[in-house]
């Protein structure tokens, strides 16, 4: 493979990411005109992708890869076939217009640089998503689009609604991201390949894990592409600036799920489960979105709901999976990208020029916004499916794919006609209502927007017209290669023109009739729908909120259960676990040690033991806590002496220092934090704590005996003794282990030590601030709360 081609393909995804980093500086340097400059990035990608068209149209595919993690068999691999090329061209083409448009739309915005950064970040991620061949790269780019979408939806972060919508989109699409990762790993385990193009190595459909993979992939695709019941996030995502909605939430990001289904269709598709899930989910989403669109009066909201419907339609067509259906899906994807992005950009112009997006407030804009009107009509005509626009082709093709007399086909045909009819109604309303009729008083006096904002919708509208006319070209270069990539075969037939005597034509007429009728009675239908929605009073959006609150409440409950803030209970749990962890395994596995019969100790060893016993006895008998702390130090010194006697000077040394410092610090804690001087525990508590102490003692003792009586594996000791001096130039093995052999552990430990220090300081300072005056001495029965307060 040619190395320069590898880099060039990777650059389509990676250069926008670099441009994202440079965008804020560019905006600072040249202002809003940066939009035009940045648009050069996707424009260059577009030009490069066009050079790949001949090879792909000839049935070829372009594979490219950069090294990534060769030790793990990972490569940053890309694959350009008909499917990914269609998507990549759409992303690059619409992206260029959206960038130019944004420069004018958000001119003078305080955070314009940040906005461009987010948008380019998204663009690179989306290109990576559709071009990636490696599942890992696909997942990474997938999540990156989610993050970029989150940032863009929440761009206007001072508004609560925008923040909520951003979080909602993040939560829902991240759920899908995780399932995608799981599906990718699962498929890699089964096929042994990270590459999507190698999934055909075994027939996944026959594998017992097929069901699991299918569910994971479906959740990923349905969340990303806003399929029922995950559709709620997409209409809310309209909180984003309008160019973002045009780009992410109609033409590109939400198509990620559709892309995934199309990409995996050869490996996973064709089973009854696949068809049922996609046709059922897609059909339901189509009707749901189309009906919901009629309920809205906000231009963007209407368009968003129709996007939900269109996504459902695409999923349905992929679910049918025949060659004709796939061809219809590809055509519809192209048509939808052209007209929906155009309509969103038109909606943005209307909003920008008049100050409102509310349909009832708009009208008569055909004169002040004449060019915009033309663009709107072109886009809407494609959406309605009028010949000779590309939308007409797509509609004819999908009806053709379903022609037949089986019951299911008739039902689906009815669903499609109804769905398309409702979409046509929305298209007519959105494109005509704001422009026709008298000009009402508006918040702003409308003027034709700058070229940067007109370029996108006009070009996209004209392209929709050209694609519908130049059907041969479209079929040969775009539709057939993409169909070939998904369905494995393509015969390049596209319905040309209209045949007034064919059934297909009359289905189209029926669709238009539905659209016209609904447009005519829209006000009444909207009123009825709103009344119903009001009567139900529940929506998936509210359901999402309820689920989130439930989650928060659950985590709060779990947190309160374990993190109750009562120090002594924490200690009880800790020591109980220590006792259980030492005793239970020894006991259940039959490893309890034999009690040694005779203790052969020298007099000074007995002396050390005596010191320890005296120390412990004093701790137990001590009246005041301060005295107990000091006595505990005695016991610790005895242990340090033991270390010294048995040849561990380092340990002994450290033990001495730790004991001294513990006593010092505990004494300071006692005296400075005004803890009770006496032990105020009641008898039951003493019994509990004493029992725990005895249990822990027994457990540790048993463990130590078991260790001594078992066989010691000298492997490590031998290794360290043999290698410490020659390899690590040190004779103190303990120290060499700490700073050399296990240096990474030590690095982690000292970081923990420092972090703990910061936390302790915060606690000390917090306690000082919170306790302005000495609290009254609590009576014995209430000491629990006092202990809690002190711990806090």
């Amino acid at each position: 493979m040619d190395a320069s081609l590898d880099i060039a393909v990777a650059a389509i995804a990676l250069v926008p990411l670099l441009a994202a980093a440079a965008a804020p500086w560019l905006v600072r340097a040249v202002g809003a005109g940066a939009g035009w400059l940045l648009a050069a990035v996707p424009a260059a990608s577009f030009a490069f992708l066009c050079t790949l068209l001949p090879e792909v149209a000839g049935g070829g595919r372009v594979a490219a890869a950069l090294g990534w993690g060769p030790a793990h068999g990972l490569a940053l691999s890309f694959l350009v076939d008909g499917l990914s090329l269609t998507f990549a061209l759409t992303i690059a083409g619409i992206g260029a217009f959206v960038l130019a448009y944004s420069g004018a739309y958000l001119a003078g915005h305080r955070h314009l640089g940040r906005y461009f950064s987010f948008l380019l970040l998204f663009m690179g991620a989306m290109q990576g998503l559709v071009l990636a061949d490696s599942t890992v790269a696909l997942y990474a780019f997938w999540e990156l689009t989610t993050v970029a979408s989150f940032l863009l939806i929440g761009f206007d972060h001072s508004r609560q609604a925008a923040r909520r919508a951003a979080i909602q989109a993040l939560v829902i699409t991240t759920l899908g991201g995780l399932t995608l990762l799981a599906a990718g790993v699962l498929m890699q385990q089964l096929t042994g390949a990270w590459e999507l193009s190698s999934l055909g190595a075994i027939d996944l459909r026959a594998h017992p894990a097929y069901g699991a993979i299918l569910v994971l992939v479906l959740v990923a695709a349905f969340t990303k592409s806003a399929q029922f019941p995950f559709h709620v996030w997409l209409p809310n995502a309209m909180e984003a600036p309008t160019p973002v909605s045009a780009f992410l939430h109609s033409a590109t990001m939400v198509q990620g799920g559709v892309y995934l289904l199309a990409r995996l269709s050869p490996a996973l598709g064709g089973t009854p489960e696949w068809s049922a899930a996609l046709i059922g989910g897609g059909g339901l989403t189509l009707l749901w979105g189309a009906v919901a669109a009629l309920r809205q009066t906000d231009l963007k909201q209407m368009l968003a709901q129709t996007t939900v419907a269109s996504l459902g339609l695409l999923v349905l067509l992929i679910g049918i999976g025949t060659e004709a259906a796939i061809m219809a899906a590809v055509l519809y994807f192209v048509a939808h990208a052209l007209y929906k992005a155009g309509l969103f950009l038109v909606a943005g112009i209307i909003d920008h020029e008049t100050g409102t997006r509310e349909l009832p407030d708009l009208g008569g804009l055909r004169r002040p916004l004449a060019v915009t009107f033309v663009a709107a009509v072109l886009a809407a005509a494609s959406m309605v499916g009028l010949p000779p626009l590309v939308g007409y082709l797509a509609k004819e093709e999908m009806y053709l794919a379903l022609l037949g007399d089986a019951g299911l086909q008739l039902l689906l045909l009815a669903v499609l006609v109804a769905g398309n009819g409702l979409l046509a109604a929305v298209a007519l309303t959105v494109a005509l209502k704001p422009f026709l009729g008298p000009l009402p008083p508006l918040p702003k006096a409308p003027h034709e927007p700058p070229v940067a904002m007109l370029a996108g919708p006009v070009t996209l509208g004209v392209l929709g017209l050209m694609a519908g006319v130049a059907t041969g070209w479209l079929g040969e270069w775009i539709v057939s290669p993409a169909t070939l990539a998904i369905a494995g075969a393509a015969h390049g037939h596209l319905v040309l023109g209209l045949d007034p005597f064919g059934l297909l034509f009359w289905l189209s007429v029926l669709t238009w009739a539905v659209g016209g009728l609904v447009t005519w009675r829209l006000e009444a239908i909207r009123a009825v729908l709103r009344r119903w929605a009001g009567a139900i009073g529940w929506s998936f959006d509210k359901g999402f909120d309820a689920a989130m609150f439930g989650l928060i409440r659950l985590s709060a409950a779990v947190t309160h259960l374990w993190h109750h803030g009562r120090l002594e209970l924490y200690l009880v749990v800790l020591f109980l676990m220590l006792a259980l962890a030492t005793i239970v395994p020894l006991w259940s596995l039959g490893g309890l040690p034999v009690w040694p019969e005779a203790m052969d100790l020298t007099f000074y060893e007995w002396g050390t033991v005596l010191i320890a016993v005296i120390g412990v006895a004093t701790v137990v008998a001590a009246r005041t806590r301060l005295f107990a702390i000091l006595a505990l130090g005695i016991q610790g010194f005895a242990v340090a002496l033991l270390y010294l006697l048995f040849g561990a000077p380092d340990l002994s040394f450290t033990q001495f220092m730790v004991e001294i410092l513990s006593v010092v610090i505990l004494t300071l804690v006692m005296t400075r934090l005004r803890l009770d001087k006496q032990d105020l525990r009641v008898f039951e508590d003493l019994l509990r704590d004493g029992g725990l102490a005895v249990l822990c003692g027994l457990g540790i003792t048993a463990l130590l005996f078991a260790v001594l009586q078992g066989e010691l594996d000298p492997l490590l000791a031998e290794f360290f003794n043999a290698n410490s001096a020659p390899v690590a130039h040190g004779h103190n093995v303990v120290n060499v282990i700490l700073v050399d052999f296990r240096g990474l552990d030590t690095l982690g430990e000292i970081s923990v030590v420092m972090t703990a220090g910061i936390a302790i300081l915060a606690l000390i300072r917090g306690a000082r601030r919170d306790v302005p005056a000495p609290p009254p001495k609590p009576p014995a029965r209430r000491r629990r709360r006092a202990a809690t307060g002190a711990a806090a």
Binding site: D650, F653, N732, V739, G743, A756
Partner: protein, 137 residues
């Protein structure tokens, strides 16, 4: 602490302890000792000085916040590990340099600088906690 003897002796004791702590740290690679113990000794010295002269005097004497010392320690230890990047060996690989200076052999190594980092972290953290507690009214 109001003992005159303690207050008089403490500064001397602190000096001896601090020097000793450095000595213990540096000998650690071949004899009992090391950065951890050295840091504990130094922290004890700081604690003693705090008891004798008050935490404010200790802060003046230290000149920097003790937690900054701890932070420096983590950085020093981390950088000792990162030095291996320059030699294209795994992170934290021990690098040694043997020098003959003034008639004696001196070994400078990344495990040593790493141990100095440990020393600074232990010293800084415990000193910060002790001073924080001593300042609590």
């Amino acid at each position: 602490m109001n003992s005159l003897i303690f207050r008089t002796i403490a500064p001397l004791l602190v000096v001896v302890m601090l020097v000793f702590s450095v000595f213990v740290m540096l000998r650690g690679h071949n004899e009992p000792g090391g950065g951890f113990i050295g840091g504990l000794i130094a922290a004890s010295a700081i604690a003693i000085y705090g008891m004798a002269a008050g935490p404010a005097a200790v802060r003046v004497a230290l000149k920097v916040d003790p937690l900054a010392i701890a932070g420096l320690g983590v950085v020093v230890a981390g950088l000792s590990g990162l030095l291996s990047l320059a030699y294209e060996v795994p992170f934290l690989t021990g690098l040694w340099g043997f020098f003959h200076l003034w008639g004696t052999d001196v070994a400078i190594s990344t495990p040593m600088t790493f141990d100095i980092g440990v020393y600074l972290v232990v010293l800084g953290t415990i000193a910060a906690v002790v001073l924080g507690l001593e300042e609590g009214e």
